[in-house]
């Protein structure tokens, strides 16, 4: 019986420590995060949701910690290790793949196709107009033997938003390398405009 008291005693201490740690971390939580969560899920403001979130879930969590505190400690350590190694959300970085390539182009072909003109003279008459510097920077990176290709792809980007991305990429030894984007158009989900 004494072992059971010891076990529950450690569980109670763990519970107090975790409660204090939670209060400490939530104190520094941005008010903006609450706004985002409220905006993404308006149900959060309902009385039933507030009772579940503010009372039922914490009580159940407390009971769980009290009785299975070794698992709670394990989860907390794992969480801390994840945060320490920069874990959590990792931002995706866009890369052009071989399968995204459309046609091989010469510099002259691209410059002729991408010249921008405007009757009100509100853009420089250069390839890619106001974005001409991006193009100049790209072709400055080309080495002998490099190829220039157009590409188009649907990118499953950050925050779950898909985009159609197109542009031009340098292909070096068969592998797409540096690129410029000429368009990024969000792919609307069903029922969304």
């Amino acid at each position: 019986m004494i072992y059971l008291y010891w076990y529950l005693g450690v569980g109670a201490v763990t519970l107090v420590v975790m409660y204090v740690a939670h209060k400490w971390s939530s104190r520094s939580e941005s008010e903006g995060i609450k706004d985002i969560l409220d905006a993404m899920n308006p149900e959060r403001k309902k009385l039933s949701c507030r009772i579940i979130n503010n009372y039922l879930v914490p009580v159940l969590a407390a009971v769980l910690v009290l009785f299975v505190w070794p698992i709670a400690i394990y989860m907390k350590i794992k969480d801390m290790l994840n945060k320490g190694s920069g874990g959590g959300y990792e931002e995706k970085v866009f890369k052009v793949l071989r399968t995204d390539l459309l046609d091989q182009k010469s510099i002259e072909q691209v410059e002729s196709a991408e010249i921008v003109a405007d009757p009100l003279s509100a853009v420089p008459s250069l390839p890619f107009g106001h974005l001409n510097k991006c193009w100049v920077d790209l072709i400055a990176q080309m080495l002998p033997g490099d190829e220039l290709w157009s590409f188009k792809t649907t990118w499953d980007g950050n925050w779950g938003r898909k985009e159609i991305r197109s542009g031009y990429a340098i292909v070096r030894e068969g592998v797409p390398d540096a690129y410029i984007l000429t368009a990024r158009i969000p792919v609307e989900k069903d029922g969304e405009e």
Binding site: D35, A39, P119, L120, A122, G129, H130, L131, C134, E193
Partner: protein, 166 residues
């Protein structure tokens, strides 16, 4: 996060609130923007652009913002030599103009919904189609007409909050 102040669009003789930021695409495509200062939570991008559609082409005709350096920013700051008008040839996609009464207020981004959205689709800065999306009819006769935001927090120059403003 806070509902954001919209861009402005002059289209067919009317001034519209525009819930799309084409200058964001300019930056995403590699265009260089100066470091704008965010002086309030309702304007994280740090500037307000005024746009115009002339002969189905989208132009940026005015820009008001403040740089982190403390200097004011205008069109000439971002597009030297093009201080009067900039053709937004980089923009392909849909521009949303909310219309009618507010159906639901969402205190984040351009999340609020209105009775209708006028959706203008552009390809390389040229208007290629338009349509109206009907989202519903406001039950409350006193519901607000037109785009608006609820509240914001304004920051002082040294970064401290000045307080909420409605």
């Amino acid at each position: 996060m806070t509902a954001q102040i919209s861009e402005k669009l002059l289209f067919e003789g009317e001034k519209h609130a525009m819930c799309t930021n084409p200058l964001g695409d300019y930056s995403a495509l590699g265009g260089e923007l100066p470091r704008f200062a965010s002086n309030c939570t309702a304007l994280w991008r740090g500037y307000v652009g005024t746009w115009e559609i002339v002969n189905d082409r989208l132009y940026l005709i005015e820009l008001n913002g403040e740089l982190e350096s403390g200097h004011d920013a205008d069109l000439e700051t971002v597009f030297p030599g093009y201080g009067q008008r900039v053709f937004a040839h980089w923009y392909s996609g849909v521009i949303r103009l909310p219309q009618g009464k507010m159906l639901e207020y969402v205190h984040m981004g351009y999340g609020s919904t209105y009775e209708r959205d006028l959706l203008l689709e552009f390809e390389k800065g040229v208007l290629i189609s338009r349509r109206v999306k009907v989202n519903g009819v406001a039950e409350d006769e006193d519901a607000k007409e037109g785009y608006s935001i609820g509240a914001m927090t304004v920051f002082s120059r040294d970064g401290r909050e000045k307080g909420d403003q409605s």
